[in-house]
């Protein structure tokens, strides 16, 4: 009697769960990209950061990013948004104060935990490898920020009316934000603001290119030099490579 009841209950349970889950599944993959697109699978954006060329006191990339993407910072260390930021590292292993200055940004992983976590696919990986937040869709649950092992995502706790770049939108409060490798510039054939600024300040430490193109500058660098990525053991396959870390 007990077993029959259990079997009956489990049958109803599984049928109900499958049936109920089938309904949202019908809408689930609608937003996945369909066939022909400009962001093709042949293109795979990556970035190399040459720390040997990155000067300690230079924040050209940070300032350019803020200007291009209309990000306003007010000195609030808790709530300020920095799509790219410069940190100073000090060694914990050797006694002498060995310092390094490192830009940190979204790593545009090939297995992005944030895109896996986003319940509405507002954060997703484009076919060309850029991990991007769709600010039209994001509902501000902040699970992507929880899931990112690099703390590379921020949230608009406040409204942002700052707009030094009129060609790019401002920000309302309540959506998540992260570096999108200036996808709006890359799509037009230009380079991200940070890369452009780094070149203009004659440091040339940031290089963005197509990882799938064997003749690109970035592919050559990665092939011929020992590069390292952040937290590689996590299996997220980040696409920002550090030279000299």
């Amino acid at each position: 009697m007990h077993r029959r009841r259990f079997l009956k209950a489990s049958a109803i349970l599984s049928a109900g769960a499958a049936g109920a889950y089938a309904l949202p599944l019908l809408t689930a993959f609608k937003s996945s990209p369909a066939s022909a697109r400009a962001a093709s699978t042949k293109l795979r954006w990556g970035m190399v950061i040459d720390l040997g060329r990155c000067p300690a006191n230079c924040t050209a990339c940070v300032d350019a990013c803020k200007k291009e993407n209309n990000v306003n910072t007010s000195g609030d260390r808790r709530l300020d948004i920095y799509r790219i930021r410069k940190v100073t590292l000090e060694s914990t292993l050797v006694a002498a104060p060995a310092q390094k200055s490192v830009p940190l940004l979204c790593n545009h992983c090939d297995n992005p935990p944030c895109a896996l976590a986003c319940p509405i696919q507002a954060t997703y990986k484009r076919e060309d490898g850029i991990v991007i937040v769709d600010p039209h869709r994001c509902m501000g649950c902040r699970y992507c920020m929880i899931a990112c092992p690099y703390n590379a995502r921020q949230f608009n706790f406040r409204e942002n009316r700052h707009q030094p770049n009129p060609a790019y939108p401002k920000r309302q409060h309540g959506v998540a934000e992260s570096c999108d490798l200036c996808a709006h510039l890359l799509d037009q054939g230009k380079r991200p603001a940070c890369v452009e600024a780094c070149e203009q300040s004659h440091a040339n430490a940031l290089i963005v290119g197509n990882l799938n193109d064997p003749s690109s500058e970035i592919a050559t660098l990665i092939r011929n030099h020992p590069v390292r990525r952040l937290r590689e053991e996590l299996g997220t396959e980040p696409k920002v490579f550090y030279l000299g870390l």
Binding site: R5, K8, A9, S10, I12, L13, G16, Y21, P24, L25, T27, A28, K30, S31, R77, R78, L79, D80, Y82, R85, K86, V87, T88, L89, E90, S91, L93, Q99, P113, A117, C118, P119, I120, Q121, R137, C138, M139, G140, C141, R142, Y143, I146, A147, P149, Y150, N151, R153, F155, N156, F157, R158, E159, H173, G174, V175, L230, R231, L234, T236, L245
Partner: protein, 397 residues
């Protein structure tokens, strides 16, 4: 056994005063939610490093309480113990309301309320834990409602089936909630033990809450309550506490033993506010003391024992609240080890260990949800036949 279920009178002055007080709290919570949604979440204590705070802690707390409340009604529905039939309806009603409170807590915490109502239905990501879980939570509410309905119409066959479905679904709900945190690659989050640990803590906190609710309700409405079923549940609660404590122990021992997470775990166990909450709130007052009280085989009079069970239950509920806090916040306040061997000394944003302190807006919002659940509960008792006129118990189980 023929039990008569009757509504509470609900016409006394304290009842109306309580209603007014709770309604005021609900309004205050609604106001602070509206303010945070209108002006931005900077009004809360959260930051880019700690994006989830008190509302999510309360949400996972309610989820735990909800499934645990079902334990008492499942003792009747699944295992057929007739001396718990008097409590089955109240327990299921409580489970339903607590889950609604949990969903409300999560909902009011979102950045864009206008999109939360629309986007998850249009663009569903079936792999995200935050999609799977609200699906489980809402279906759990429906199952609990159906279960309550079949109990009210006294349909024995469907009561048994739905009770089993509800219990199995509750386990699924909790494993899912644990997976929200356990399946995320942060040092103090990632763990395969979090789902079962969640289930264990849910069972203990929910049972404890139901014990308290039953004792208080029967005392306030002056309905007779036999002590023996309560004492037996008290011993069951002791088992749940021990199992939950076992999971906590294994998880922390593993994190400390393994070199990769040892630094983070050391900060968690011995450095700062979390440690006090852990050792005093969770381990001592939440696990060891109540387990000792409940497992003590003292043959005193049962009134004294009931008081001990009630005391232990209060401690367990508060201890599990501490545990929910410890699951959510320390994992976020500890920094990820981005570059091993190097420490970040200068940055434009917060690095290293950060602290979180809820603001009055968050506290008011959470109190508002508590008040709403309580308000619906006491008015449900008045409008529906949920409480038995007496629970004398049976001499044989």
């Amino acid at each position: 056994m023929d039990i008569e279920f009757k509504q509470i009178e609900g016409r006394s002055k304290p009842f109306y005063l309580l209603t007014i007080a709770l309604a005021a709290l609900v309004l205050a919570g609604a106001y602070s939610t509206w303010m945070m949604n209108q002006h931005g979440l900077y009004l809360s204590g959260m930051s880019n490093r700690i994006p989830w705070g008190l509302p999510i802690v309360m949400a996972v707390f309610y989820i735990g309480l909800s499934a645990g409340s079902l334990v008492i009604s499942s003792l009747y529905g699944v295992f057929g113990k007739l001396e718990y039939k008097p409590f089955a309806r109240v327990a299921t009603f409580m489970a339903m309301l607590l889950m609604i409170g949990a969903l409300l807590s999560i909902l009011t915490d979102q950045g864009r309320l206008d999109r939360v109502m629309v986007e998850p239905f249009l663009h569903f990501n079936p792999l995200s834990m935050l999609s799977i879980n609200p699906f489980l939570y809402s279906s759990y509410i429906l199952i609990c409602t159906a279960y309550l309905c079949v109990m009210m119409v006294e349909n024995e066959k469907w009561t048994k089936i739905l009770a089993l479905i509800a219990v199995l679904w509750a386990i699924l709900v909790h494993s899912g909630t644990g997976a929200i945190f356990g399946f995320v690659p942060r040092e103090l989050y990632t763990s395969s033990l979090l789902p079962p640990s969640f289930v264990a803590a849910a069972l203990s906190s929910g049972t404890a809450l139901m014990i308290l609710v039953i004792l208080v309700l029967f005392r306030l409405t002056k309905r007779p309550l036999a002590p023996k079923p309560m004492l037996w549940i008290g011993r069951l609660l002791a088992v749940f506490i021990v199992v939950a404590g076992y999971f906590v122990f294994i998880e922390n021992a593993h994190r400390y033993y393994v070199a990769a997470s040892r630094a983070a775990e050391h900060d968690y166990l011995f450095g700062g506010f979390h440690s006090v909450v852990f050792w005093v709130g969770l381990v001592f007052l939440g696990t060891i003391v109540p387990a000792a009280i409940l497992l003590e085989r003292k043959s005193g009079n049962s009134r004294h024992s009931i008081r001990r069970v009630a005391c232990a239950s209060v401690m367990v509920v508060l201890g599990v609240l501490c545990e929910r806090y410890l699951i959510v916040i320390p994992g976020l306040s500890h920094p990820p080890g981005l570059i091993p061997g190097w420490m970040i000394t200068q940055s434009a944003v917060e690095e290293g260990i950060v602290n979180y302190c809820p603001t009055s807006y968050e506290i008011m919002q959470s109190l508002g949800v508590v008040a709403l659940v309580s308000l619906c509960f006491i008015w449900g008792l008045k409008l529906l036949r949920l409480l038995p006129t007496e629970a004398k118990g049976m001499s044989h189980g």
